[in-house]
Amino acid sequence: MSHGRTLCAGATPGAARLGRPWPDWLPTALAVVALGGAAVGLLGRLEARPVGREADRLWLPSGLFLRESTAGFREVAADALWFQAVQYYGEYRHGRHDLAYFRGMMRGVTTLDPRFLEAYRFGALVLATDMRDVEGGIDLLRRGILANPDRAILPFEVGFLQWVVQRDYARAAVWFDAASRAPDASDFTRRFAAFAHKRAGQLEVSYVLWRNLLDTTSDPNMRDLAERMMAKIEPVLRARAAADADGAAGPGDGADQARSGEARP
């Protein structure tokens, strides 16, 4: 029996049975291409109009609420919020906004995962430099220190911000000192603590810190540096002791010499 039509190449027996000139799969393929293309096109247009994105950030729930609502998956939620914060910072670098919600995002990340050290460091640095809120950055780090009292990096970062941004060397030295006493303090932390004290004029403490570094490090470069620094400080301390013994020298001589840079590393 003839249908009066010629079947096109590739037509399947099903198409032939129904007397259609196109293969069975063609309508499905066309529908998939058309609907898929439409979905992709619409998504592109929707992405270009980010309705409510800023509002989402404005209404970001408090970290405590997030903690309760993540049902034991807090760390993964912190990671997801961390990605958002990093992207948000990237958008700021491209001049799209003024980091207004950054503080809240970092609070959320660190409440969800109070041991996320990288978040404290990055957050504090952005607050202190890009947002010119050094105290805000230090507050974030202080919260981190409360949650991670045995980690050297956070007090070290406080000292770093006070040293390079606030130029408060005496306070920085106190924080470097605290960092050097942490169980996981590195040689570098101890070395920096010693240097900060010297800059602040507290040579005796500096000498003790260098001595500690010399006694605890296995790195020959560090040992060499410690020995050289101690060799520079020793004459000043000896001169101060001699002056004290003579009763002739005024207070602060050693400190003045240190400030003038005679004993720099």
Binding site: A71, F73, E75, D79, W82, F116, E118, A119
Partner: protein, 259 residues
């Protein structure tokens, strides 16, 4: 003559075979893809925290995929057998209903143990090319995840003895969520509530499973030690809770009329 233990083992083995036939282990492959994806695709976004992110995602996925198996297999397990009437052929033999429920639980636990072992091995494999600082705590984290899933499985089996599969699945999921905040609920009740709320939150705290005791993922990822004493206490708590659920499930199922 065979004892109750043999009956439990036979039902458990059969349940395990059934879950294997249901291709549950495909989830291990999905787990692998999630892990590899999180380590490769998300790396540029992690800004110095790649190891932490991979470890977080890995350990959380391990628990999540286990939970999916418990919810979708555990909550409908008994109902399926009753619906197909295959249960009558088993119970016609000298197998008690309690042994049958315990066997069903055992089979699912065996499935979960195999899944966790496979996912744990995959996780360790992925850590070879990612900066995850491995420590012995990861072994403890896998153990705690297994204990947590054992408790949730027991709850799912208990619920499946007297409610429909859909309701059992929803209630199991809800109990999983509440089980992670029960301590906070109790603290909330003590802080802001009157005597009635305080009593209600205290009762909830003791009745519901406290799943947060098994959550050591954060501690392990950050390199904090997990004491053997905590592991032992958690294992004891899980054993007690599982036994309690199975005793209740057996009692309910024994009285249930099978049509």
């Amino acid at each position: 003559m065979t004892g109750a233990g043999d009956h439990v083992a036979a039902v458990a083995l059969n349940t395990f075979r059934e879950t294997v036939r249901d291709r549950i282990f495909y989830l291990v492959g999905v787990f692998g893809l999630v892990l590899i994806g999180s380590s490769a695709i998300l790396s540029p976004l992690t800004v110095g925290a790649q190891g932490k992110v991979v470890a977080d995602v890995g350990l959380a996925s391990l628990s999540l995929f286990g939970l999916l198996v418990v919810v979708f297999v555990g909550s409908g397990m008994l109902h399926k057998e009753i619906d197909k009437r295959t249960i009558t052929t088993i119970l016609a033999k000298p197998v008690s209903r309690r042994a049958y429920v315990a066997g069903k639980f055992g089979g699912l636990i065996l499935t979960l143990a195999c899944m966790l072992a496979a996912m744990g091995a995959l996780f360790l494999l992925v850590t070879l090319w990612t900066p995850v600082p491995l420590n012995p705590g990861y072994a403890a984290a896998f153990g705690f995840a297994f204990l947590e899933l054992a408790v949730v499985t027991a709850v799912a089996v208990l619920l499946s003895t007297f409610v429909s599969p859909v309701l059992a699945a929803v209630l199991t999921l809800a109990l999983f969520v509440v089980g992670h905040v029960s301590s906070d609920l109790k603290a909330f009740g003590a802080l802001v509530g009157g005597p009635a709320l305080r009593l209600a939150t205290s009762v909830l705290f003791y009745v519901l499973p406290n799943l947060e005791v098994f959550n050591v993922r954060g501690a392990v990822v950050h390199g904090d030690p997990v004491s053997g004493a905590h592991l032992a206490l958690a294992a004891l708590y899980a054993t007690c809770y599982v036994a309690l659920c199975l005793v209740l499930a057996g009692a309910i199922f024994t009285r249930r009329e099978l049509k």
